[in-house]
């Protein structure tokens, strides 16, 4: 028979499978120092043992925004640390994919940079058997890093910022920038604005801010995609933008504040003062923002106050939602979602994300609101 042929061509496969079998016997989870069966050695306080009861088990799958990924990893680690028999997975496919997976019932929760729209709410209600709700659990300030050696503490008003990014201002010693920075010596370097090449929630929030705070200078459509006819360079994802800003002098970009590293960032004009980004300043603008209208009582969707003039508020923030059902038919899944989202909304969860991902913790009031919604989730 043609067995020998089969043997020949499939041998690499056989070897691979054999290797996989061998592999299967020798892998383990790393000792992270925050799993509950570990001896208490105290240097890692948020791995507090037994806080969540630890009686949950099973697998919970979620999908969605990649902006939250590092925070979600921290939440998953914390939650799994409390419940060693639980595995939570999060596929960072993007907000759109996450909402679609959620509304078709493929995953139990979603992460999304935008709240569900009406159509999606209706689809989600069909999939869940009850209304779905958006919970704002991740606040990420968006910083404006720039690469201009010799110029520290750059200050940019909203209109100047918009004109830089729309290509109207092309050199660093433009009068508009000088007016914002009366004390700085600005070189005549050409400005290279750097934007995200992928469609992203970061871009959408940044553009939304420009459109709200500098409406006359920024007339482009607000979407997750950068207007194609504007000049400048593009980078894929956050590291792409950071790498481009690092690579050449005269560049300026926008990126998740946690990722800017040792690049300098511009202070943004709010009202009459210039505000550096910080977790508190970002949380402040979220607190100053009203709830979106026409939403259910427990569907916490924020209408961010981009044009705020409140002192100490940093208006360029990304708020990313965790989307869950208000009722789960499968008690196994429901208990896990309740436990997981409860952990995320807890002080512990918010601090874990702040420490690991550099996000801004949500305020205690918002926490309380979210906890109330989580409590009301029906299981079974």
């Amino acid at each position: 028979m043609n067995l020998s042929i089969v043997r020949r061509t499939l041998a690499p496969v056989a070897v691979a499978s054999a290797a996989a079998l061998v592999l299967a016997a020798c892998g383990s989870d790393p000792d992270t120092g925050n799993s509950s069966n570990e001896s208490p050695d105290g240097d890692n306080s948020e791995g507090s043992d037994g806080a969540g009861g630890g009686d949950l088990s099973g697998t919970l799958n979620g999908a969605g925004a990649s902006s939250q990924e590092s925070a979600v990893q921290a939440w998953i680690a914390g939650f799994q640390g409390q419940n060693p028999d639980v595995t939570v997975n999060y596929a960072p496919e993007g907000s759109g994919a996450g909402r679609e997976q959620f509304t078709s019932g493929a995953v139990a929760f979603a992460g999304s940079d935008a709240a569900l729209d009406e159509e999606e709410l209706a689809a989600a209600e069909t999939a869940c058997g009850a209304p779905a709700v958006d919970l704002p659990l991740f606040i990420d300030p968006i910083a404006v890093p720039y690469n201009l050696p010799g110029v520290d503490n750059l200050q940019l008003g909203p209109v100047t910022l918009a004109n830089i990014f729309n290509g109207t201002i092309t050199t660093w010693n433009d009068p508009a920038i000088v007016a914002d920075n009366p004390d700085a010596t600005l070189p005549d370097t050409t400005i290279t604005p750097v934007h995200r090449s992928d469609e992203s929630g970061t871009t959408e929030n940044f553009v939304e801010y420009l459109a709200a705070a500098a409406a006359e200078a920024w007339t482009y459509e607000v979407s997750g995609e950068w207007p194609a006819d504007l000049p400048g360079e593009a980078g894929a994802q956050t590291p792409g933008v950071i790498a481009a800003v690092q690579a050449a002098e005269g560049t300026i970009g926008y990126a998740s504040a946690a990722a800017v590293g040792d690049l300098q960032t511009a202070a943004i004009g709010v009202g009459t003062e210039f505000v550096e980004y910080s977790a508190e300043a970002a949380a402040a603008v979220v607190d100053a923002s009203p709830r979106a209208e026409g939403r259910a009582e427990n569907d916490i969707v924020l209408e961010l106050a981009r044009d705020t003039t409140e002192s100490g508020a940093y208006p360029i923030v990304l708020v990313s939602y965790t989307v869950v059902c208000t009722s789960y038919a499968d008690p196994a899944v429901g208990d896990l979602v309740k436990g997981y989202v409860g952990y995320v909304a807890s002080d512990e969860g918010q601090q874990a994300a702040a420490a690991a991902a550099g996000s801004a913790p949500i305020s205690p009031e918002l926490q309380a609101e979210v906890q109330a919604v989580v409590e009301s989730i029906e299981v079974g």
């Binding site: 061509t9 799958n61 596929a91 956050t238 946690a258 550099g358």
Partner: protein, 370 residues
């Protein structure tokens, strides 16, 4: 290559015993060219490696060809020119290839360890990375779950695609006549043009229909990869089967060997080296796919050794997420290190597979004159 086209040899020399340059000429010209290249490069506004290399190579090609043309005749000169060009092409190609490999090895070795290979990422957060950078905690988190997933998913994909692909190419080369064969040839070509994400979405949709919404597991990933892999297997093995000389087949038929036995015993073994190379190429083509695997096999930081249930990680997805979305935005270096180490692992895995495929090809290939 008629003798008439050859330029007239110097008087008195026959076409067989024409002038020949001494064997060491080439080496001599090379050394002189390198010296000249260095000199010229220094002359033209400062020495640089690039201009040095370009000038040396140009000098060598020109001098060697002209010298040979004058002494040995046009045909020999042309031969030397082409030899020079082939070596040059090889040299040029080495630069990026070595650079890529060097990048991976150099960056990958930083975190490549037994620990990296045998632990997963479960419960590892950005905080661990920050502490590791500060030196207050050991570096933790490996790629075991992803390595396991890559082995299982790619292995399954190979099990699906190689038989289908090889049989199809046998059909096309040995049996296929008429409309069906034409259609298959045509559509295999079309298949090479499927964007990988589309293959992933297709497999995801298929599994949603067959096994319920939201079904993601290693097997779905293997199906998605098979869609990408089959055309490469068909195309390369078809080519390899086609160049098996007809004399071999005819000799077998003349001895009364049935056709299928001829194919299995004569045609495929003759082409086995090429087929093995093609299969390795096909595996290599899909082993680095990210997007189709995330939508079909999911994304996890925990170990899963059952490809038929629950989400499964793969090495490329691991590399991508660690490189593009570091666990800790403020201290991304540990994540970047993991990405490089995982890329190194991936290359080592393919190297291993390649080695095995070649060994097997050599063991079973018929003895030839080569």
């Amino acid at each position: 290559m008629s003798v008439a086209t050859k330029p007239a040899p110097p008087a008195g020399a026959s076409s067989l015993a024409q002038n020949q340059l001494p064997r060491y000429t080439t080496q001599l010209v090379l050394v002189l060219s390198i010296a000249a290249g260095a000199g010229l490069s220094a002359l033209f506004g400062g020495f640089s490696i690039v201009s040095f290399a370009v000038l040396s190579v140009l000098a060598f090609l020109v001098v060697n060809t002209v010298l040979s043309g004058v002494v040995e005749g046009r045909r020999k000169a042309k031969d030397k020119l082409v030899t020079g060009l082939v070596y040059t092409a090889f040299g040029i190609a080495l630069v990026p290839l070595v650079s890529v490999i060097w990048s991976v090895v150099d960056n990958g070795m930083a975190r490549f360890s037994i620990d990296f290979l045998t632990t997963s990422m479960r419960n590892v957060t950005g905080l661990n990375d920050q502490q590791a950078l500060e030196g207050t905690a050991p570096f933790i988190g490996g790629a075991y779950h992803a390595i396991l997933g890559t082995f299982l998913i790619t292995g399954l994909a190979t099990v699906i695609s190689v038989p289908i692909g090889l049989l199809t190419s046998v059909y096309l080369v040995e049996y296929g006549r008429g409309r069906l064969a034409k259609a298959i040839t045509f559509f295999v070509d079309v298949m090479t043009g499927i964007p990988s994400i589309v293959a992933g979405l297709f497999a995801a949709a298929l599994f949603a229909v067959l096994f319920g919404v939201g079904t993601r597991n290693g097997f779905a990933g293997a199906v998605a990869l098979s869609v990408l892999m089959i055309p490469v297997v068909v195309r390369s093995s078809e080519e390899m089967l086609r160049i098996v000389p007809n004399e071999l087949r005819e000799a077998a038929y003349a001895l009364g060997v049935p056709k299928w036995r001829t194919i299995v015993r004569v045609v495929i073994p003759t082409a086995i080296s090429g087929i093995a190379s093609g299969v390795t190429l096909a595996i290599a083509r899909v082993v680095g796919e990210t997007a189709p695997l995330i939508v079909t096999a999911g994304f996890t930081s925990s170990i899963n050794n059952n490809p038929f249930s629950d989400w499964m990680m793969s090495l490329p997805a691991y590399v991508y997420s660690q490189a593009m979305r570091p666990l800790s935005g403020s201290s991304p270096q540990p994540s970047f290190d993991r990405a490089w180490a995982a890329a190194l692992t991936l290359i080592l895995i393919v190297m291993l597979l390649n080695l095995v495929a070649r060994l097997i090809a050599r063991l079973f290939a018929p003895k030839t004159g080569r």
